[in-house]
Amino acid sequence: MNVVDEAEEAVRRYERMLPRERVDRLKRSGIEVLASQGRRDRELGLRVRYDVEICCLQAIRIKRRDTSGMGGTQESVLDREAASTLFKRIERLATKTLYTVGLDHGAVRLEATGKSGCSVISIDPRPWKGMTDLSAMYRAGWKQLQSELDEERHRNAAPIIGMDPEFLLVQMPESKIVPASRFLERTGIAGCDSVTIGGRRIYPVAELRPAPSSEPRELLAHLMRAFAVADRSISDHSLIWQAGGMPQRGLPLGGHVHFSGVTLNGELLRALDNYLALPLAVLQDPRGSGRRPRYGSLGDFRLKSYGGFEYRTLPSFLVSPLVAKGVVALAGLIVRGYHQLHQRPLAKAVIHTAFYEGNREVMQAHIPALLDDLMQMDGYERYERYAAPLISQLIQGKTWDESRDIRKLWNIRAGS
């Protein structure tokens, strides 16, 4: 199916979805929606409004209608470069909104509100209808995506995979988080990452940034090298290292996977959500499910300056080598052959709910069929060594324990 047919098919699926279900999906994903009743009930006043046109998961135009009330100056078009943070923030919310209801293209009207920054007012699933300047912009976007996808299929090169998973340093037995910045620099193969609490930026999280590779084994060797660098830098060996979704309350951890040499598109994100994030959510320690929906929502991606993109939905898979190897293998498998993967259990409201609520039993029922698809894929043998142990654990319905010290599993000897 080509890009245009997929877009029209997605609109038909959207139109079959009940309005209530659309709103529920958005709310579960952490997106605030102002239905007409809500709009009537709130205080009188003026609010900034954004009309966002999204094509291929990116904004092609953001119109802002401001509060000045001064006639002709009320409406302006945001410039991606000039208003970079504002543009990105609005673009991200609009893209996420559409993706959550199954669309990669469409228009979203947002309005500034007190609680969360912006709420969704309405969605237009087919803003390209008719022969307008806007429809020409959409057609140009689709044409470019189609040629990139065609070229990629023709080239058939292995995508390059990278990662920046996180872990925490914890003082036991009181379970006190020790900032990683005490031992690690901001940058480097083993560095630290920031969170802002009460206006102060602190660096509590350790992050490994191994060199990328198109070979799973090589990428994992790079990861072990990053672990070794971290081990040499973290001189306090009494601290334990924890990973997973949220091993310590209030500090959610991510296992971001980076891809380059593959074109970002909605079907690839949906394949990653259904065939990687969903199985991993079944395996996840139930204690980590509080990470969502603020972090780790479905289809969460960021475009990167190197030309690729980062998939941000997964928790920190450093929780064990088995999980890390499995993630690297499945990510490689999916990104190379996602057009062979057609199941979308997360499109069903019940599975979508189970994912965000961490209801393992409901999700578990769908896992065997997904795993079957993965094992039937062309080229599975290439990834089997690292994928099979993870698949075996998934079939057994096990969960990891994110309270433990990950050093032993990674053969990191304190003081080595």
Partner: protein
Amino acid sequence: MSLSHKHQCREIITKAICGKGRKFSTVTHTVTPPNGPTSILGAWIINHQYEAVSAGDGIEVIGTYDINIWYSYDKNSQTDVAKETVSYVEHVPLSYLDPKHRAATVEVSADATQEPSCVEATVSAGGSSVIIRVEREFAVELVAETKVCVKVCTDGCGDYEDKDYDFGSGDGDYDDLDPDLLDDEL
């Protein structure tokens, strides 16, 4: 890092950007006009002025702006513009700070990457004042003298083709890093 004998490193002292930070924030102001507002007809921010000062682990942006609210009162029979000057101090943390910078030489600057703008203006629940929500964003920089390590070409700046820079990553130290040797345990 190993270097061939042809290349040397030198430490030079230079003025450089030693710290950077960026902060987006949303703040709420309450403006009480002389007449109880019926509805808001317009709300905007003008005359923004600010300066940056060094403050502990970050940079403080100190500034002022005027809020203008065009509102109606007396059951929409009259209109007026309420004006209020707001002053603020925004602490912008540095996401990067060169630890080698010379503190005595520090100069700081700030740039409003997004001018303060009013995104929401509502009549308060009691009906006597107007709640204004303002978004603003600053990028800050800290410039100071610092030491920078540079590679020096001892034989001039001629042809680089035959230079054998070796950024040895010490691969030999990691020969035992084999992911296949790790236990398969969940």
